[in-house]
């Protein structure tokens, strides 16, 4: 009788874990499950809109009418469109000049703030103000500052000081308008650069400076051989962010000039909006927006490779 044998040699019955428990013990599945929420969010809120934007660029969709696939027609039209090339030029120019300006002034400000000053933390908080104020508000402030009739600058120079007879026409012709916008962008971008670089500066050990002082270094040498190399890693990442923010800037330009006068200050972002939403040609607007991608990919790759370099990450001497 088999039954008695079994009861004599009792062993702890091996309970098969349910399929569910086994599934959850299986590592690949567990990893998949844990990644799912993040992946879902990325898919729904990043990949889908991006993919939709790219798809739209190849259709003739207008607002309220779904379009048909037209291949590269939008891009062909853009290639022959003077306004588009003007926008490409100004986007690159705007980004380059504004970034240089922001970094020169931001670094200088960071160096100043790194000294021991009275009310140090208070000063640092104040410096952040232009960054904290919503862009549209500061844009409206600049809009008044640059107004053709009611500019405070014109008022001071003409009516108070009497240095000029006529008011400045900041936004009335192409180049003054372009420079005015760049100035506004620099003003707004300095705090971000200054505060992040300041954080970088504070990680530099004071003993390095003491050693350099003992060796009789000049201020310039200390900056060139200690501050700058040690600041490079953070400089690289801040620079990348700044380039991306500046290149995709929209609010300042749209609120101050709407791309005028005669389209001379359109950035790719504002032109894409103008064509897509008020103009109603979603497909064409999307094509312009898509054409920004190569520029942004370049900026991202730059940061990726630059940041992956150990020398940049850890300083020159730490091979």
């Amino acid at each position: 009788m088999a039954g008695t044998d079994v009861s004599a040699h009792w062993v702890r019955p091996h309970i098969e874990p349910s399929w569910l428990a086994r599934l959850f013990d299986w590592k690949p599945f567990l990893i998949f499950i844990c990644m799912l929420p993040a992946a879902g969010l990325l898919l729904v809120f990043l990949t889908y809109p991006l993919g939709l934007g790219i798809w739209l660029a190849f259709t003739d969709t207008t607002i309220g009418r779904s379009g048909v696939w037209i291949g590269l027609e939008n891009f062909e039209y853009m290639m022959g469109d003077r306004l588009f090339w003007q926008a490409v030029f100004y986007s690159v120019f705007y980004t380059a000049v504004a970034t240089i300006g922001k970094f020169a002034l931001g670094l200088w400000l960071a160096l100043l703030l790194n000294n021991h000053l009275p009310f140090k933390s208070m000063l640092r908080a104040i410096i952040l103000l232009p960054w904290i104020v919503p862009t549209v508000l500061s844009a409206i402030a600049f809009w008044w500052i640059y107004d053709a009739q009611f500019s405070i600058i014109s008022y001071v120079v003409v009516d108070v000081l009497g240095w000029r007879d006529t008011y400045f026409d900041f936004l009335g012709s192409a180049w003054p308008a372009r420079w005015s916008l760049i100035a506004a962008n620099i003003w707004r971008g300095i705090p971000f650069v200054a505060i992040t670089l300041l954080a970088g500066l504070q990680t530099i050990s004071p003993s390095l400076y003491e050693a350099a002082l003992l060796d009789g270094s000049t201020g310039w040498q200390r900056f060139r051989y200690i501050t700058f190399p040690l600041l490079l890693p953070i400089l690289a990442i801040v620079m990348t962010f700044s380039i991306i923010f500046t290149f995709t800037d929209f609010q300042l330009v749209y609120a101050i000039t709407r791309g005028g006068p005669v389209n001379s200050t359109h950035l790719l972002a504002t032109l894409a909006f103008q064509r897509g939403i008020p103009g109603g040609n979603l497909g064409e607007g999307a094509a312009i927006a898509v054409s920004m991608i190569p520029f942004l990919v370049f900026a991202t790759l730059f940061s990726y490779f630059a940041l992956a370099r150990r020398k940049w990450q850890q300083g020159e001497s730490n091979d």
Binding site: T62, I63, G64, R65, S66, Y77, R82, Y146, D147, A148, Q149, F150, T166, Y167, D169, F170, L171, G172, S173, A174, A177, T257, R258, G259, G260, P261, V262, N263, Q274, R275, I277, P278, G279, G280, N281
Partner: protein, 443 residues
Amino acid sequence: MANIITRRDSLKLIGGAAAASTFAAQAAAQAIPKGDAMAPKMPIEKGASLRILRPARFVEPDEVIFRANTAKFAKEMGIDVRVDFVGWEDIRQQTAVSSNTGAGPDVVLGWAEDPHVYADKVMELSDVAEYLGKKYGGWSFLGEKYGKKVGTNNWIGIPFGGSTGPIAYRKSAVKAAGFDKIPNDLGEFLKLCQALKKANKPAGFALGNAVGDGNGFANWLVWSHGGYLVDEAGKVAINSKETIAALKYLKDLYPSFIPGTLSWGDVSNNRAYAAQEIWLTANGVSLYFAVKKDPATAAIAEDTDHAPMPFGVVGKAPQSSLILNAMVFKHTKFPNAAKAYITYMMEAEQYDPWLTGCLGYWSHTLRAYGKSKVWESDPKLAVYRDGTENQFWSGYKGPISHAAGTVAAEYIMVQMCASVAAGQATPEEAVREAERRTRRYYR
């Protein structure tokens, strides 16, 4: 057409209006001559409710009185009516989405071309339009133009009103320049502007990306020289010797403007006029009322008058009106209620207080309202009274279409003028560029 009637001003107005409201309004409404007409039978559906979509107000009474009229309708008919106000730049997109998804508001008071763009999605409103036309002395030129489907007698929109922007000028300055009124001859008008400039009291017209004022000026310039964007068949016809003549004229005219007009938006000329920086411009009625209501600028208002835009070679005022056009989508579940609502809002008891409260901001489209008290209240308003009788429209001379709206939204005409004024392009180059861009939308 921007305006700066302040909140306080309009509150005073409304306060005044409210105090006298019922009696005065009814008395005024009775002054509107009415023809004999039977309202079409529109039994309101059981359990009906309506959603209305319209552009945001620019003058406060526009919203307040509109809401009050709607509430009155809802109460009398015993149904729910909700009105949503959306920004001027967004309503066209919302109309488009609503028409294509077959959901959303039952009645849309949208922009001029919209019922024509969605002609197969909107209900025919001929019964309402014919009844209103018969009762209130017929429809004005633009009222009919934008109400009827092209080439038919079928009404697909009910134009509620139109906003127009004639010349506003300082009488003293024009007189000092040697003119009694605004000349209709283009050469004389140029002389006037040059004389104003010499007297340091310059004129100013928006040449920046200003939806209302910029397009208004650019259209005037081209139309007054006999040019037009597209021909009757909708073929692009901007590249003509008339347009080039207009741009050459602008090259002479532009130096007489105050500096900075290339960067002007819709509000710039209002501000500059109130600050006595410019002495002649073109604008909606809002400019005049803003200076009239503010005691600090009352003297400016006293010295202000209006005139149609100079006729040029066409013999009539080359200006149009931004039409507020009501449509009912076929997807509404309560077509009778929707039609009854539109009819109700256009009746004298409701329409006249609205017209009066808005100070004629939306010029009426039914001719009998020319007798409204608002037009007698100030003789300087006369030119706005016939705002929707102008014989020009956006995208003149073409059929009413989506493309016309896009050309305005893309500032194609404005930028053609601005590039010549700025000296960036010769008239010939500017016209070719405008032609190239326009062709893309009229294909």
